[in-house]
């Protein structure tokens, strides 16, 4: 009987469908205070003065915090980047200057959320407005500087060069030039905002119940930020209402709840962000501009070289950045076999909301760029979109990319065939011809993408050679409890990915028990000692890091159980087997009726140990296992090394029709094929694919963070931002293939991010629909206004050129 591979109903659901989950904002309690954060209305302004007297006088207000308090009690958060990032001062409140609209300038703790908000309106902040810079290229001129101590807006620059790019261009039969492309700013905006409850305890420690999704990292930043020892900061999570990477950064303002608690004499303080605050000031996905792209191709349309300049816009603070300046290179050649690439990569700050990891983080932008290239080349060279991909796909695995990454396994042609079948490619091709004859604009687009999972944090050293990060790890602790149940805790702190269920499936198989006997604790707690610095849910890695930790813990526990059972049953270990007897799970001597139940083993260790001798001294039935993937530190000079362990892949096909009347792109058919190797729980995997697809479709057609030239966010409510709804999502035809990874114990690959596949497929479909109208798709957002503008001013003459040698 194997539980792995089955769609076991999720354990998490029982509490969640009853409304009995515990999200951070659900934590209630007598005497709890509520924090309201006052935010800057300006994108760039000097703070001349802050008057809090009226707010402090309001009955119910317990304390008010300003930049003065944070200077007194906090140290700026550690910056990951090298010079000049180390000069950037990131504190939980602005001190003398605000640099994005929505930046916190003061905070009020009061006895109710309403009073806190009322008091916020009574705080008088005197600003001197400064000119803002919202465009990345303009920011790089340094005419307006955000971080004066840094002296420049440029936060990172590096050149990634592999192979012989010059020679490839000399030998090229076609050279395609695309002067400018742009990937827009959006975020997956989890439905639950950032929230925490903080308590500054009498012991001088801080206890956070929060929804941070990378707590191993958050603790390392929060503790020094609050001038505490690591172990003085306890971080707990329980249910998290989605993260998609966005909740990695929220430690920045969790500190405010802690400071308010300290100032309020240790009363618990809750911070629960409103949606408008979330859209204005929490975190946006990275925006990226691709300049001066040149593509060399041979006579068959096989791409032999690409050179380009990329500018990443990370908003006002670097926070998780400039890591994104390296993370994209996990998928340097995308799914294509070219060996020669030169990418000049620069990152800049702008007066916009700081960038944070967002589902598909940094790789998605690059994969979109690569997919636009192949798609534009297909149209310009008159090669069918499916054919050009088949000529360019990597087909041999494991495959070492030009920068030393190893693609573990895959079969992109098989995925393409499956997706074509699911979407009914031949039917749509025929309909497209007929529709075009009627003047209708129907397009069919392919998006092939990679979901690189299980980071080698050594890549951080490519960004900053002084960073003491490398490898990766995850922890599982497992205890055989009094009643014979397996009590398991994880370091992952999931946000909807079903870790309790998948873990139960693995443990059930390894220990020969029913998943109901496996009690996986919900959430995360530093108090369990089940974490390392890498612990969290991010970067598509649970199936590898999390479950390898679980699997490893099972092996250690079984070894102890076997040793103890052999001692108690007076048998040799190799005579023993695990199984289920009349009394439940047991270890027995093969072929006999001699057996000892799991609970009895636990009882001997925990209650009844007088029969044991020194041979059993190291048996505790309480395991802590740390899984470490086999990584090496990359060669930082050459920017060469294996940056991720597994490469799940997705192939999407979109069929769209663009209305000539409304300029709306409507999806007529959509197929998504996923390959994440061996599947632990098919239903959970399909759900992740649906979710990632939905984010990508929303981003491609609806969702965008638009700023005006003074740095006002124009889409600061859900009504303006327009997240995808039940009326906009098409039926998704889902399929999968499985190419097991040779690098994980189970053959599974981390998955869930989906590589932004719908952005690629929909951009390609819009391209296909509008190519004959003279439009080259160089942006990732296809709202009706964007399509209207494109049709009004066909850009092909400027957007692309082809040189035939």
């Amino acid at each position: 009987m194997s539980w792995v591979g089955k769609s076991l109903r999720r354990k998490e659901d029982e509490r969640l469908v009853r409304g009995q989950g515990l999200f951070a904002d659900d934590e209630l309690g007598a005497g709890m205070l509520h924090l309201y954060i006052l935010r800057s209305p300006y994108a760039h302004a000097r703070i001349l003065s802050i008057d809090t007297a009226a707010a402090e006088a309001l009955p119910g207000v317990v304390c008010v915090l300003t930049g003065k308090d944070v200077l007194e009690h906090c140290d700026p958060y550690m910056q990951l980047g090298p010079e000049p990032c180390d000069k950037i001062r990131d504190l939980p409140l602005a001190v003398d200057k605000v640099i994005f609209q929505g930046e916190p300038v003061a905070a009020v703790a009061a006895t109710s959320p309403g009073i806190a908000m009322d008091a916020g309106q009574l705080i008088d902040v005197d600003y001197e407005m400064l000119d803002a810079v919202v465009d990345a290229e303009e920011a790089l001129t340094d005419k307006i500087i955000l971080h004066e101590a840094a002296g420049t807006n440029r936060t990172w620059h590096g050149v990634y060069e592999y192979g012989d790019v010059e020679k490839a261009f000399r030998d090229a039969v076609h050279v395609v030039r695309i002067p400018r492309m742009h990937f827009h700013r959006y975020a997956s905006t989890p439905l639950e905002g950032n929230a925490c409850v903080a308590e500054w305890t009498r012991q001088g420690t801080v206890d956070f119940l929060c929804n941070n999704s990378f707590p191993g990292f958050a603790q390392q930043l929060l503790a020094p930020g609050l001038r505490l020892k690591s172990d003085q900061v306890r971080i707990r999570t329980y249910d998290i209402g989605g993260s998609f990477g966005n909740k990695i950064w929220n430690y920045v303002y969790m500190a405010l709840a802690a400071l308010a608690s300290k100032k309020a004499g240790g009363r618990r303080v809750k911070w629960a962000e409103l949606r408008t605050e979330n859209l204005l000031g929490s975190g946006h996905g990275n925006e990226r501009t691709f300049l001066d792209t040149e593509v060399a191709l041979d006579k068959h349309g096989v791409i032999t070289a690409i050179r380009s300049r990329h500018i990443d816009d990370c908003g006002a603070y670097t926070r998780y950045e400039p890591l994104g300046c390296v993370i994209w290179s996990q998928v340097l050649p995308a799914t294509f076999k070219l060996r020669n690439m030169r990418i000049d990569f620069t990152q800049t700050v702008t007066n916009k909301c700081p960038a944070v990891p967002n589902r598909g983080y940094s790789r998605m932008q690059h994969l979109w760029f690569m997919e636009r290239i192949i798609d534009i080349c297909a149209h310009e060279l008159r090669i069918p979109a499916d054919e050009i991909r088949l000529r360019n796909y990597i087909t041999e695995f494991p495959y070492e990319t030009p920068n030393g990454c190893v693609y573990d396994s895959g079969n992109y042609p098989a995925m393409l065939a499956k997706a074509k079948q699911l979407v009914d490619w031949d039917k749509w091709k025929k309909m497209q011809v007929a529709a075009r004859a009627d003047g209708r604009l129907i397009g069919i687009g392919i998006g092939t993408t990679l979901d690189s999972g299980t980071n080698n944090f050594g890549q951080a050293q490519i960004m900053n050679p002084h960073l003491p990060f490398s490898g990766n790890a995850e922890v599982c602790t497992m205890r055989l409890d009094f009643d014979g149940a397996l009590v398991v805790s994880l370091g992952t702190g999931p946000s909807g990915q079903g870790h309790e269920t998948a873990t139960s499936q693995v443990v059930a198989d390894e220990l020969g028990i029913d998943p109901s006997m496996v009690q996986v604790r919900s959430g995360f707690d530093t108090g369990w000692n089940t974490y390392v610095g890498h612990s969290g849910t991010y970067a598509s890695q649970f199936a590898v890091t999390g479950l390898s930790a679980v699997h490893g813990a099972c092996q250690k526990l079984k070894a102890e159980m076997r040793k103890l059972a052999a001692f108690l049953l007076e048998a040799a270990e190799d005579q023993l087997e695990f199984g289920t007897g009349a009394q439940g799970p047991e270890v027995r001597v093969r072929g006999t009726d001699k057996a000892i139940g799991y609970w009895q083993l636990s009882n001997v260790i925990n209650n009844n140990n007088a029969m044991l001798d020194e041979r059993m001294a190291d048996v505790t039935l309480n395991i802590r296992h740390v899984y470490r993937p086999p990584f090496r530190v990359p060669d930082t000079k050459r920017k060469f090394g294996n940056l991720t362990l597994t490469y799940a892949a997705q192939l999407h096909i979109a069929v769209i029709e663009v209305s000539r009347e409304t300029s709306r792109a409507q999806i007529l058919a959509y197929a998504a094929v996923d390959d994440c190797g061996t599947v632990i729980n098919p239903q959970i995997v399909a759900g992740q694919v649906h979710g990632a697809t939905s984010h990508g479709i929303g981003a491609a057609l609806m969702e965008t963070f638009d700023y005006d030239e003074t740095g006002n966010l124009l889409t600061s409510t859900f009504s303006d931002y327009c997240p995808i709804t039940s009326l906009n999502i098409p039926d998704i035809a889902y399929g999968s293939i499985q190419t097991p990874s040779p690098f994980s114990y189970s053959g599974a690959k981390g998955m869930g991010e989906g590589g932004g596949a719908p952005l690629h497929s929909i951009s390609a479909a819009v391209q296909d629909a509008l190519y004959e109208a003279g439009v080259i798709v160089t942006g990732s957002h296809h709202s009706p206004p964007a399509i209207f503008a494109a049709l009004q001013k066909p850009n092909r003459a400027q957007a692309v050129s082809v040189e035939k040698r």
Partner: protein, 165 residues
């Protein structure tokens, strides 16, 4: 819930999931805050502040409403059904079962509001078409599932409740 000294409290009587509650509340208190903070029924969630996301959907006198856009005083004399009232004697409602069986939830944050909209749909229309289902939950955002399995779950619950599941 504390209140400012200057605001007069208003007495209200609201029946929630069959139980009558008498409370004195600030006039500006939202129904969702009343449910969550006064009654400690935290299954009803808050996902936006513009009546867009539907995480706070409950039923007021049988109609699905967004409880972030109704004042507690407006619910005076009314009957509320929230997610905590769906299960009977501990037994899950067909919708709750179907959401779980069809993986119609991931993080679970939208799920209570989603089920309350679906519950109202099925009360009015026991045999909804796919389009009816999409329309009924158009005011409920889900950021995790891409809605696909929510559609399936509602269809399955409808069939179950009709007796042909």
């Amino acid at each position: 819930m504390s209140t400012t000294e200057t605001i007069d409290l208003v007495p209200i009587e609201v029946t929630v999931n069959g139980q009558l509650y008498r409370r004195e509340v600030e006039p500006r208190l939202l129904l969702v805050q009343f449910l969550r903070e006064e009654l400690r029924l935290t299954g009803t969630h808050i996902g936006c502040d513009t009546t867009y996301c539907g995480a706070c959907t409950v039923q007021l006198n049988g109609a699905p409403i967004k409880s972030c856009t109704v004042l507690a005083v407006q619910a005076d004399g009314g009957e509320i059904l929230s997610v905590e009232g769906l299960a009977k004697d501990g037994e899950l409602h067909a919708l709750q079962k179907a959401f779980s069986e069809h993986h119609g939830l991931q993080c679970g944050y939208c799920t209570p509001g989603m089920m309350m909209s679906a519950h109202a749909l099925l009360a009015a229309n026991p045999d909804p078409s796919a389009k009816d289902i999409r329309k009924a939950i158009q005011g409920n955002l889900c950021r995790c599932t891409g809605y696909q399995n929510i559609f399936k779950a509602i269809e399955a619950a409808a069939a179950e409740l009709r007796g042909d599941g």
